[in-house]
């Protein structure tokens, strides 16, 4: 993918690209550290329909959502020949009982036979995380297991 980088003298940088559907999307990184998500309008790709200011947490969460979907799609593709195996994503909410706790404390694998195969954090992937990895709010867990196992894993992560 070809991402255009443009200097905005005195203000920051713009990084964007054209989608196949003909719209320009990207981010503006301001000097002061804020990020804006930009989406161009349909009829005029020069202008923005929306420029949404994001805090660094929000930007990281959005990056995780997009990156996580990508990862989950790939995994689902690989597992599609194995019946009964499903890939799903869980995000760690700010009120999750396991935030700032090592992942092993949730005992996901022991209790429901589900494997956490990756954690998306701030746009990066932590592959096969061990039980001592500390969970942060906004983390996106990519999990593989049976439908029932994943349902109970979701319940554990939300309510302990």
């Amino acid at each position: 993918m070809n991402v255009d980088e443009t200097n905005l003298p005195g203000l920051g940088r713009r990084k964007d690209f054209m989608t196949a559907s003909g719209r320009r999307i990207g981010v503006v990184e301001l000097r002061e550290g804020q990020t804006e998500l930009i989406v161009s309008t349909w009829d005029d790709p020069d202008t923005c329909q929306a420029s949404i200011p994001l805090t660094s947490d929000e930007a990281a969460t959005l990056g995780n959502l997009l990156g996580g979907t990508h990862l989950a799609m790939k995994l689902a593709e690989e597992h599609k020949d194995v019946p009964g195996i499903v890939t799903r994503q869980f995000s760690i909410a700010a009120d999750s009982p396991f935030q700032n706790q090592p992942m092993g404390k949730a005992c996901i694998r022991t209790r429901c036979g589900v494997s956490i195969v990756a954690i998306m954090r701030e746009g990066e992937v932590l592959p096969s995380p061990g039980p001592d990895v500390v969970l942060h709010p906004g983390d996106l867990l990519v999990a593989v297991g049976t439908q029932e196992g994943l349902d109970s894993a979701a319940h554990i992560l939300r309510h302990g």
């Binding site: 003298p9 203000l11 713009r14 990207g26 301001l30 005029d44 020069d46 202008t47 420029s51």
Partner: protein, 393 residues
């Protein structure tokens, strides 16, 4: 009354009123600059209330305001940004200079203000307000727009042009001989190039020299350095403002970022006093006679900035609506037009009508600029559409 008490009361009242005016400006989403000017007109010679006590303080504070305005302008850019900006936008920059310098200069000659007046008025009509433009672009959510870098690089070019223009202006205003003027310009150009080269290669040393973890020490270092450099530049007839601008460029990276944060409230205070001080020296009664000319000049230079923006955006491959947006973003004139007029008036080398004309002009342009930026798009669309349907009729 005790003169000190009088000064304090007047200054307090004026600053407090400026606060109210700035709040009003914010409420209706406008730049506070025209309000500050109006405030100055109301309190100055021939205004509603005449304030005498704070004159001296206002004058010095105004000077510091100009230094801080230019210092912060320099802090905004890195030397590398200036170089790439210059390389990419020089054609549009030159067109901008010619188209927008001429109307002011021609009018000054028509009004019989001579070469010096033409030099001053040309500068007043040439320079867009980068402060208003940046605020308009941010407020209207146009940071991600494709024409925005075009607009910003024209602003960068203008700011660099100021670094060359101001020393020439200072020399002209001081009435130095042709040879003396050439020497000053040569010194100015040499200083500007040396500072840019130093900033590009050794900017971190300058940054290190003023940097401190302690914000109090840092503030005193930056402010002290700025006043010292500005004073030294002024002594060499290079213009205090340019000295401050150059120091701002030489400071880079995290230090520049911190300096901006720390200096911003100071700049806002002193720049506001600077606009008031300029208004204080202008008699409101002198404005009506020049108002007609100010309107003509406003209309003409709004047009020339539109042409500049449209041409530059077209060169960059922007579609028609974006070209109009780029033009309109450049229309506003503000702080630097007043800085130029302020230098000229302080030197006494230009007629007093010039201050009145510049005030009226900036009042118009600071209001008109943001309005133009906001409404040019629907206006352009309604103008373009009938043409598109015309063949079917």
């Amino acid at each position: 009354m005790d003169p000190l008490a009088q000064t304090l009361i007047e200054l307090g009242a004026v600053v407090f009123c400026l606060g109210l005016l700035a709040r009003l400006a914010g409420r209706i989403g406008m730049s506070p600059i025209p309000f500050y000017l109006l405030g100055g007109l109301a309190f100055g010679a021939g205004g509603i209330i005449k304030l005498e006590g704070m004159h001296e303080f206002a004058h010095l504070s105004g000077e510091i305001g100009v230094i801080l305005l230019l210092l912060m302008l320099g802090l905004e850019y890195t030397a590398a940004e200036l170089f790439t900006g210059l390389r990419r936008s020089w054609q549009a920059g030159v067109l901008d200079l010619v188209l927008n310098f001429l109307p002011g200069a021609v009018l000054a000659v028509l009004l019989g203000w001579g070469g010096v007046g033409a030099m001053v008025m040309g500068g007043v009509t040439y320079i867009s307000s980068s402060g208003i433009a940046a605020k308009v672009i941010t407020d209207l959510g146009r940071l991600g727009n494709r024409e925005t870098p075009v607009v910003l690089s024209i602003l960068v070019f203008e700011d660099l042009a100021m670094a060359v223009y101001l020393p020439i202006l200072t020399a002209t205003l001081a009435g130095v001989s042709f040879l003396g003027g050439l020497t000053t310009v040569a010194i100015a150009l040499a200083v500007v190039s040396v500072v840019l080269m130093v900033a590009l290669r050794h900017g971190h040393h300058v940054s290190k020299a003023v940097h401190s973890e302690n914000s109090e020490v840092f503030l005193l270092n930056v402010l002290g350095a700025a006043l010292l450099v500005a004073g030294a530049a002024s002594a060499m007839q290079v213009s205090a403002a340019v000295g401050a601008f150059m120091l701002g460029i030489a400071i880079s990276g995290a230090t520049a970022h911190n300096a901006t944060r720390i200096l911003e409230p100071l700049r806002d205070l002193f720049a506001a006093i600077f606009f008031v001080a300029f208004g204080l020296n202008t008699d409101p009664a002198s404005i009506p006679p020049v108002l007609g000319w100010a309107l003509v000049l406003a209309a003409a230079t709004a047009g020339t900035k539109m042409i500049t923006g449209i041409w530059a955006a077209k060169q960059a491959g922007i579609a028609r609506p974006g070209r109009f947006r780029a033009g309109a973003a450049l229309v506003a004139r503000g702080e630097f037009s007043i800085v130029i007029a302020g230098l000229a008036v302080a030197s006494g080398a230009v007629p007093h009508d010039l201050a009145a004309l510049a005030t009226a002009y900036v009042l118009l342009m600071a209001v008109m600029g943001p309005l133009a930026a906001r409404y040019v798009e629907p206006l352009a669309k309604s103008l373009i559409r009938p043409r598109a349907v015309a063949p079917q009729l």
